[in-house]
Amino acid sequence: MKTRILIFSLLVMAFFGLSVSAVMAQDGLSFCYVIHSDPAGSFWNVATAGAQAAAAQVGADLTAVGSLDPVQQAQFIEDCIAQGVDGLAVSLANPDALRDAVGHAVEAGIPVVTLNSGVDVFRELGAITHVGQTEFVAGQGSGLRFNDMGVSHVLCVIHEEGNIGLEQRCDGVADSFSGTVDRFNVASTGVNDLAGTTSTIQDKLTADSSIDAIITLNPDVGVAARDAIAAAGSSQVLATFDLSPTILQAIVDGQVAFAIDQQQYLQGYLPIIFLNLYNVNANTVGGGLPVLTGPGFVDASNAASVIALSAAGTR
């Protein structure tokens, strides 16, 4: 029986192994893409698709990994250094936590480009440039839009604990918005239990009828908020950070007022291209400044044109 179990487990693992090693065979440059989230989430899979497309275009190997746990993220970076990769693209949601690991990569002569989060520290850590949007500025932009819509009480829904970027978005909204901004923590359910998040938001709306606008910081949570508004039978103005096919359709249907688009495809794509240019042509992009991918706003005026691209997984 034991031999049979062993053979079974070997076969299963061999299956995994073969199906993967078939994909990665070519020689050439190899890059690591390490993010602070599961690479397959509805936001991150677009960025990851960008990184994969860029790697394919330049004929490089790509290791795309990520974890919400900063210890694991640091360990992934160390793994990449041990492998001797030719470039590291990394999102710095918790800069302190990754300071040492990124420092090791720079010491080892591995070029680093930060993406998505880390605009304040990329230079200090020795990265070539940062590719992303400035969260605070993006938040400010949404606050101004809320002012134009004449609302007075905004709920800023935080779906992840420990992500500084989310806090900065809410800070930005609070900075430019003329009314009240309340933070609402739904991290206990977050994106892992969207049904739970929906009902939590619904309860909040029922409990506090003065809330007349909601901003979510993730498109899945945006959909949850849309459902919560419908379930509560209320009519708050809803906006969200980032796009998904569902959010785009909701904008067309008038359920979501606008979405802040940081074009995360570029946040995966550009770092790999920049790292490749650094390797093959000794180029450094950005001139010491970040390369901004947003904020762009998608509302009823331009949603339709973005829908097809979003369904293809690149917006």
Binding site: I5, S21, D38, P39, D96, A97, E161, I164
Partner: protein, 363 residues
């Protein structure tokens, strides 16, 4: 099955059967299989000293927790608050030292005392209420998950405590708990030394001391243990405090490694600790297991994590792989436990102890 074992068979059983019957063997075979597998996939980077150093990095902190959680499981209990406590203890040090201006070492000792208190309360509630520890510690888990975020945001207006590396004494604390050192051309971490020492001490206590046989006894059959004079309540409370102490140690390692403490740190890790212990041969119902096995379980975790990264897979597959590993390990363990029962089946009268408590592992 009782009557089947005749004298001929007992002789042929011998050493081989005893090795097969030890609780670690399933994990050991599993670790070897996973190691060989990933060595074949990434022959250039995986099977060498650098690859080993990478495996040992995640395995060390996990291993420390798996040893403590393994002891607790052998003693028949669970601690679902062990993950979140690694965050709470780190946050407490950060809040005390950075925001209250207390001396770093005083903060570290205070955090330890706090962990001991939580461990004691967990254990005390379990033995007093006789409710499943699963429920009691689930409550503790939720309480601290909320406290971690709530208190941190109240004090810092953020969800993390930054600036731990600006406190006097940080470098020394980091050296003590979790810093890098070079060995044989690769970078290792001091957490590894902690793990090895803790695993050896715990194994010695479990297999060679009276306390160790008490732990097997309270997990295997608490009523019989109580009847034969084992201080069941004290042993259980002590095991909860050990787990909390291990969580404190890992909390210190994480906070000093990351130079900051995050309010979400450790949430969800409690199951990983339990999985490592189970892969290592600790029985979910108590009374059987090994801390060396739990450590090997942590190694399997490290090999799998690093192996998948080196192989260039995305981590989408990690949990599927882990699930298969868990299943295979449990099947192997069930098999070896059956063999263990055969080896220990008392046929001749002078056989000392039935299979229940299992201290005579060759290690």
């Amino acid at each position: 099955m009782l009557a089947k074992t005749d004298d001929d068979r007992r002789i042929s059983v011998g050493l081989f059967r005893k090795v097969v019957a030890s609780p670690e063997i399933g994990a050991l075979v599993g670790a070897a299989v996973v190691f060989v597998f990933f060595s074949l996939i990434s022959p250039d980077v995986f099977p060498n000293i650098v690859g080993l150093s990478r495996v040992l990095d995640p395995a060390a902190t996990l291993g420390i927790m798996a040893v403590a959680v393994g002891l607790l499981m052998i003693g028949g209990e669970f601690d679902l608050s062990s993950g979140v406590m690694t965050g709470t203890t780190g946050l407490l040090v950060g809040l005390l030292a950075v925001h209250a201006g207390i001396n770093l070492w005083v903060a570290i000792v205070t955090s330890f005392a706090f962990a001991m208190l939580v461990g004691f309360v967990n254990g005390y509630m379990v033995v007093k209420t006789k409710l499943p520890s699963f429920i009691i510690t689930l409550a503790t888990f939720f309480v601290f998950r909320g406290v971690n975020v709530g208190v941190t945001r109240l004090v810092t207006n953020q969800v993390r405590v930054a600036g731990i590396d600006t406190i006097p004494g940080f470098e020394l604390a980091r050296t003590l708990f979790d810093t890098e050192f070079q060995f044989a051309g690769a970078t290792f971490r001091t957490s590894l030394i902690w793990w090895i020492v803790i695993a050896l001490i715990a194994s010695w206590i479990l297999l060679r001391t009276k306390v160790g046989s008490w732990i097997f006894a309270v997990g295997g059959n608490p009523d019989a243990a109580r009847a034969s004079g084992v201080p069941v309540k004290a042993v259980k409370i002590g095991l909860f405090m050990t787990t909390a102490g291990a969580a404190w140690l890992v909390g210190m390692m994480t906070a000093f490694r990351l130079r900051s403490a995050l309010s979400s740190q450790g949430v969800g890790q409690e199951f990983v600790f339990i999985i490592a212990a189970v892969i290592g041969g600790c029985r979910l119902t108590g009374g059987y297991g090994s801390v060396i096995g739990a450590s090997i379980g942590a190694m399997i975790f490290g090999i799998t994590r690093v192996g998948i990264t080196f192989a260039g897979w995305d981590t989408d597959w990690f949990f599927s792989f882990l699930g298969i590993m868990l299943l295979v390990a449990v099947l192997l363990n069930t098999y070896t436990q059956k063999k263990a029962a055969e080896v220990h089946t008392p046929k001749a009268p002078p056989e000392p102890e039935p299979a229940r408590s299992h201290p005579e592992t060759p290690s």
